[in-house]
Structure formats: structure tokens, C-alpha cells
């Protein structure tokens, strides 16, 4: 049994990501980019999704590193544009968004708060496990576990389509990867 006093371990990459933010000298930029939301799930920010990886300055130039969720995710282009726009609006005309593939993005980098926000938005969250391990999916509307998967892929590649047998609600489940 796990000792309840011990905080569950974060994935190493996620721990490092949070450390990068905490130890950064560019706090105002991190805060600024908190306003940039996932274009497909506007309830959560790129930071909360685990997509925003790092912010650095090269002279007057802001270099933002993001990691793609799914390889073909069309939202990635929009995210990069939104980041550049937010920086430009704040007076950083010369910025660049760099995409980093490794380590590969995992849903286990989403915080518990981000998962709660997904649920409130009507999406069953992926849980903290990551991997491709199936998790218990609860209806985000009535919390019933009497749900069935209609399709492995929902409105986007990152989600599967479910329906709740208790209340009838069709909903997306953010798949763990």
C-alpha cells in the first residue's frame, strides 16, 4: 500500500517542466502565456495541457518551446500562432515557437486541476497514468460508470467517443497516451 502521506510521484519530465517554470527569470512571460488556451478545448491553457515546455530569451527575441500532442493535430499550428500573437500584443514583436518532439507528450503531464477543468467542460479526463492503459471512464455529466465506447476516435484524434447509459449523454473521453 502506498503511504497516504507521500505525494504521488510526477513523471520526471513533468517535474522538470514545472521546475523550469518555477526557476525561470521570465515569470511575467509564463504568466502572459497562461492566457493562451488550447483552441480545441478553450477551458485549459497550453501550460495546463503540458504543451508549453519552456520560455527563453535570446537578446530581444522570445523563444517558446512547445511539444505536439498528436503528430497530425491541426491545432498545433493555431497554438503556435496564438502564442506569437499574445507575445506580439505584449510588445514582443520578434518571437519564435520551436517544436520539440522528445520526450513525447503524455496526458500524465496534465495536472489534476486541468483534469477537473476538462470534466467541467464535458470531457472525461485521461487520468494521471499516461501510457495507453485503459482507465475508468465516468460520465462527466452524471458521474455514472455505466458508459460505453461508441468509437475509438471522437471529434479529434486525442479523444474517443462515449455515451452514458444512465443519462444518455454522448461525450468525449480524452484518451491516455
Amino acid at each position: 500500500m502506498a503511504d497516504p502521506a507521500i505525494i504521488p510521484a510526477l513523471p520526471a519530465e513533468e517535474y522538470e517542466r514545472r521546475e523550469r517554470r518555477v526557476n525561470s527569470s521570465l515569470q511575467s512571460l509564463w504568466d502572459l502565456l497562461d492566457a493562451v488556451k488550447d483552441p480545441e478545448i478553450p477551458a485549459v491553457s497550453l501550460w495546463e495541457m503540458g504543451i508549453l515546455q519552456d520560455i527563453a530569451m535570446q537578446g530581444d527575441r522570445v523563444i517558446v518551446t512547445i511539444t505536439p500532442t498528436y503528430s497530425g493535430c491541426p491545432a498545433m499550428t493555431v497554438m503556435a500562432e496564438d502564442v506569437l500573437q499574445a507575445l506580439a500584443d505584449a510588445g514582443y514583436a520578434d518571437s519564435e515557437v520551436v517544436t520539440r518532439l522528445s520526450p513525447a507528450w503524455s496526458t500524465s503531464w496534465m495536472s489534476e486541476e486541468a483534469q477537473d477543468k476538462l470534466r467541467e467542460y464535458g470531457i472525461a479526463p485521461p487520468g494521471q497514468g499516461g501510457g495507453n492503459e485503459p482507465v475508468e471512464v465516468l460520465c462527466p455529466r452524471c458521474h455514472s460508470d455505466e458508459v460505453r465506447r461508441l468509437s475509438e476516435f471522437g471529434s479529434t484524434a486525442c479523444k474517443a467517443l462515449y455515451q452514458c447509459s444512465a443519462c444518455g449523454e454522448p461525450f468525449d473521453h480524452f484518451k491516455p497516451i
Binding site: 505536439p68 498528436y70 497530425g72 495507453n132 475509438e152 484518451k175 497516451i177
Partner: protein
């Protein structure tokens, strides 16, 4: 012995070709799927493969360092310059054919990308890391469809059997190694595809049996894709896929 950048570039283009050709084929199902959920699934899997192609092509362009971009490879090369394995380019046929092709490729692709994760080339390994996670979901779905259609109605079973028979001769090519791939495998950069064959056959046979389908005899086999020798299907597909860039070179939107 060091492997030249050009060799790695050509390898990355091959893997990009596999992905873009299958991605385009799957995208042809958009709005023609058997029902809405399946339409969405087909196009989402298409997106994953197109994304995979972008990563392999992007890396090839970086290695080429000659002004090429991912679009150069996808949209301005002719039929004979494409080096995809033939199974990716076959016409979609009916839904059973599309799903049988997908299943054969998913089993292969998952094993291939798992092996590529160990590549000493950091970029190839990183692309593989992403691809593996996606392939697991692709395979779960295509495997379900093999069982559902194979062990389904008389009509679905006969169509699935026909699809398996028609595709079978295109599968041995997936495990062939030529000099380029052998050099990369020996150097710890590329995958030894031949070594994946036994596991693939075992997995696929077990699924066919479970789906009450017959394992084909395997008395024919076609190859040539890696050398740019294609079926007639690819040229027609490219004329559609490349039309806009051919008519308006460099167009962006």
C-alpha cells in the same frame, strides 16, 4: 563506419512516403465513411499518418539542407520518386479492404516504430516515440474491425476474406531489406524489418483464426515500392493529391 546524411535522408523520406500515401488514402474516406463515428475515426487516423509524414519529411529536409521543405517531398515528386511500400497505395476498395489493410499495417507499424525508438538517431527515435503511442490506438480499432467483420454476417465475412486474400501478396514486401536499409540497421539507426516478420505472422494468423477467417496460402508476392516501381493506383492518387501545388506552385493558405 559512419552513415552519410544522404542515406539517413533517403530513409526518412521512405518512412514519410509510407505515411503520407496511407494518410491520403484514408482521407479519401472523409464524408464517405459507413457511419459518422467511423468517418471521424478514419479521418483522425489519416491525420496521425499525415502528421507522421510531416515529421519524417521535415527531418529529411533538414538533412538535405538544400531549400527543400516537407511540401517539396509530398507535392513535387513524381510517381517513380515515391518509395513507399506498395500496400499503402492500394485503392481503398470497400470498408473491409480498408480495415484489413489498416490492420496489417498497424501490426507492422507498431512493431517497426517500437524498434525505431531504439535508433541511435535522436530525431528518428523521437518521431517513433510519438508514433508508437498513436499506433496502439490505431491497432486496437483495426483489430476490433477484423473480428467484427470476419466473425460477423455471411456478407461481412466473405468481404473480409476477399480483402485478406487480395492484400496478402503485398505483405511480404514489408519485411524486405535492401542495401540502404541494411546499412542503417547495421549502424543502429534503421530497423531490421526482416526480424519483425515472425512476430507479425504469428499475431496476424492468430487474429485471422479468431475472426474465423482463413489464412491465405501465400503463393504470390509483389514488390518494388522502395525502388519506385508502383502499381497503377499511385499515379492516379498523386494526380489528385498534388493537383493544387502543380497548378499553383508554392501556393499557401
Amino acid at each position: 563506419m559512419t552513415v552519410s546524411k544522404d542515406t539517413i535522408k533517403r530513409y526518412s523520406i521512405r518512412l514519410g512516403d509510407d505515411a503520407v500515401v496511407l494518410g491520403h488514402r484514408l482521407s479519401e474516406w472523409c464524408s464517405s465513411g459507413p457511419f459518422l463515428e467511423e468517418d471521424l475515426a478514419l479521418t483522425n487516423v489519416a491525420l496521425d499518418f499525415i502528421g507522421r509524414a510531416r515529421m519524417f519529411y521535415g527531418y529529411a529536409a533538414e538533412l538535405a539542407d538544400d531549400g527543400s521543405t516537407e511540401d517539396t517531398y509530398a507535392y513535387t515528386r513524381d510517381n517513380r520518386e515515391f518509395t513507399n511500400l506498395l500496400i499503402h497505395e492500394l485503392k481503398n476498395g470497400d470498408f473491409a479492404f480498408t480495415m484489413a489493410r489498416q490492420y496489417f499495417i498497424d501490426v507492422y507499424s507498431l512493431a517497426y516504430m517500437e524498434a525505431l525508438q531504439n535508433s541511435s538517431d535522436e530525431t528518428l527515435a523521437a518521431v517513433a516515440d510519438k508514433a508508437v503511442k498513436e499506433s496502439r490506438y490505431h491497432l486496437r480499432r483495426s483489430h476490433d474491425w477484423m473480428l467484427r467483420l470476419g466473425d460477423g454476417t455471411e456478407e461481412s465475412r466473405s468481404r473480409m476474406q476477399r480483402a485478406v486474400d487480395d492484400l496478402w501478396g503485398y505483405t511480404p514486401e514489408m519485411f524486405e531489406m535492401d542495401a540502404l536499409e541494411q546499412e542503417l540497421a547495421d549502424a543502429g539507426i534503421g530497423v531490421d524489418a526482416a526480424a519483425l516478420r515472425d512476430d507479425w505472422e504469428q499475431t496476424v494468423h492468430a487474429t485471422l483464426v479468431e475472426a474465423t477467417l482463413e489464412v491465405p496460402e501465400g503463393d504470390w508476392a509483389v514488390n518494388g515500392g522502395r525502388q519506385g516501381m508502383h502499381t497503377e493506383a499511385l499515379g492516379h492518387m498523386l494526380s489528385d493529391m498534388q493537383f493544387v501545388q502543380r497548378a499553383y506552385p508554392g501556393l499557401q493558405w
